[in-house]
């Protein structure tokens, strides 16, 4: 009897979690298939009364949506490449070598993670303006990389520390150089860490808003979150259908990536502190 009560309680809670999590998404799907006039009806329609795929097509044909996608993809990939190139060596140094003030340096790097973006945003804008890099994907990618490097270094360090140094050493005894040992032994073993930090970096860059809205001004560099914010108002009025379509389609890759690293997500998000 008691067991049954517990079962029911669990299923009720699970149902609440599902409804709470999915309702906004469901509402977006609903709106994306409605006609413009059906968006504001009372009572609200929970299923599109006259379903149409007009706006799914329009979003990608009548507006430069594909260009926004291209911008977002390039920025995310570029920033992740920069991030990996810089944080793998640093993490390796912090994991494998013992040297003076190692932990202080590790915390110096981590402290950049705790620097609020808003407290450097004015100067970054001025610098980028001086460098003539406003409205460019490269500048955006660099800033995203800088913001995520502390996280990546800590995640990678946490994974690298788990690989026994003896593996590298015994490979080197077989007559290989250290670089070969790192390339063939250590990096393949650290692959989960590399994947987790890359995906977190990709997802962050994909969704970042503050710098994107400040530093981009034209279709050449605007990313999806900025494009979205502009489907409100302006010459087109409130385009809820397009917003719904774009929100849903831009979310999908991030969701797939996060599910892919689900097992490592908690460890990644806490920079290695929680396994």
């Amino acid at each position: 009897m008691r067991l049954n009560v517990k079962r029911i309680l669990i299923y009720v809670s699970v149902t609440i979690i599902i409804v709470w999590t999915l309702f906004p998404i469901y509402w977006m799907i609903n709106v994306s298939f409605k006609r413009r006039v059906d968006v504001y009806t009372w009572p609200p329609s929970f299923v599109p009364p006259n379903p149409t795929i007009e706006y799914w097509i329009k979003t990608f044909t009548a507006r430069p949506t594909l260009t926004y996608y291209r911008n977002t993809i390039i920025t995310s990939l570029l920033s992740t490449i920069i991030l990996l190139a810089l944080s793998i060596p640093a993490a390796y140094a912090l994991a494998r070598f013992t040297f003076r003030r190692r932990e202080d340096i590790a915390f110096l790097i981590l402290s950049f993670r705790f620097l609020p973006a808003a407290s450097v945003v004015i100067s970054i804008y001025i610098f980028i303006n001086m460098m003539g890099l406003l409205d460019s994907l490269v500048a955006l990618a660099m800033i995203y990389a800088a913001m995520n490097i502390p996280i990546a270094v800590w995640i990678l360090r946490s994974y690298l520390m788990e690989i026994p140094p003896e593996l590298e050493e015994s490979y080197m005894i077989d007559g290989h150089t250290r670089w070969e040992a790192i390339w063939r032994i250590t990096l393949p073993l650290a692959k989960p860490g590399i994947i987790v930090s890359s995906i977190l970096s990709l997802c962050f860059s994909w969704n970042e808003f503050l710098f994107a809205v400040l530093l981009t001004s034209s279709v050449n560099a605007k990313t999806l979150p900025v494009a979205l914010s502009e489907y409100v108002g302006g010459e087109w009025g409130y385009c809820w259908n397009e917003i719904a379509v774009l929100s849903l389609t831009s979310m999908l890759p991030v969701l797939l990536f996060l599910i892919l690293i689900q097992k490592h997500l908690a460890r990644g998000l806490t920079m290695g502190a929680v396994r």
């Binding site: 504001y40 912090l94 110096l108 800590w154 969701l255 996060l258």
Partner: protein
């Protein structure tokens, strides 16, 4: 041999140098420049004007009622969101720990809100809460609250911001706490049960105790994020009503009012507050990250 040894000693520094230079260039240098700027009158609308005015900017900022308001709002967002996210997050983690059909799928689905762009979430909320017959009004009809002007009044507006933030980031707490719960060995519970501990005792005496380091990490990471809250305020309200946060205040004074020196002073104060807050907890963080 000696030469080789020296080289080996230098290696870790050489490996870290590019990273540290990169961070200094993109974050630390702007940070210093920002402090420098805060002592100047630097209007963006007058090209070439930059004049030293000492602490004047700071004076104006800390006496500006809008700044104080944004400080207060940030405090509210931080406290309310942190507590609710944590409590619900812990509840969700407990539920996801239990055995039930489709647990794997539900665990995967639970991270969905985090995958959304914050600007998309803001817009969803704007749509779900619009004035005069939104779906939320419809769903709340049975509660008999009458018509609430969600986007047009102070307290409802803050509820809209808080709920969007909680919806998006509660899963963050939930999955980390879940990972923490999964790491607790089952034997611990069994032993306690054999000793005759009640469910409640098990929760407070075992779960919460063993989970403590994880709880602290979650709270720290979330408060540092919440301190920076910007996106929903920009997207949903454009800073309208009195919803603005510190980040939005800096954005507004810098890029709408175009007083860069003034905004820089505000951001130095913001950084100081974040720094003090971080330092209070940092000694603790160090212990937990050094396991």
């Amino acid at each position: 041999m000696n030469r080789k040894r020296k080289q080996l000693l230098r290696t870790p520094y050489m490996l870290m140098l590019p990273t540290i230079l990169f961070l200094f260039f993109w974050l630390f240098f702007p940070f210093l420049h920002n402090i420098y700027l805060s002592f100047y009158w630097y209007p963006f609308y007058k090209i070439g004007v930059i004049k030293y005015i000492g602490l004047k900017n700071y004076e104006t900022v800390i006496t500006d009622p809008t700044f104080l308001r944004s400080l207060y709002n940030t405090g509210i967002y931080l406290a309310v969101s942190l507590i609710i996210e944590f409590v619900i997050g812990l509840g969700v983690a407990q539920v996801l720990l239990c055995e039930f059909k489709g647990r794997g799928i539900i665990r995967a689905l639970s991270i969905l809100p985090m995958a959304c762009a914050p600007s998309a979430v803001g817009l969803m909320w704007k749509l779900m809460f619009f004035k005069g017959g939104s779906v939320i009004d419809y769903l709340l009809t049975p509660l008999g609250l009458g018509e609430i002007n969600w986007l047009g009044e102070q307290i409802p507006a803050m509820i809209v911001i808080l709920s969007s933030n909680i919806w998006q980031w509660m899963p963050f707490s939930a999955i980390i706490l879940l990972a923490g719960l999964l790491a607790i060995p089952v034997e611990l519970y069994e032993a306690a049960r054999i000793d005759g501990a009640s469910t409640r005792q098990i929760f407070t005496k075992i779960t919460l105790q063993v989970l403590r380091p994880v709880i602290i990490i979650v709270l720290i990471l979330r408060s540092l994020e919440l301190l920076k809250i910007f996106d929903p305020i920009y997207i949903i309200f454009e800073g309208g009503l009195f919803t603005e946060s510190l980040s939005f205040y800096i954005y507004k004074t810098g890029f709408r009012v175009l007083e860069l020196g003034f905004a820089a002073a505000a951001s130095v104060i913001f950084w100081l507050l974040a720094w003090i807050a971080a330092n209070i907890v940092m000694l603790k963080v160090r212990d937990y990250f050094m396991r």
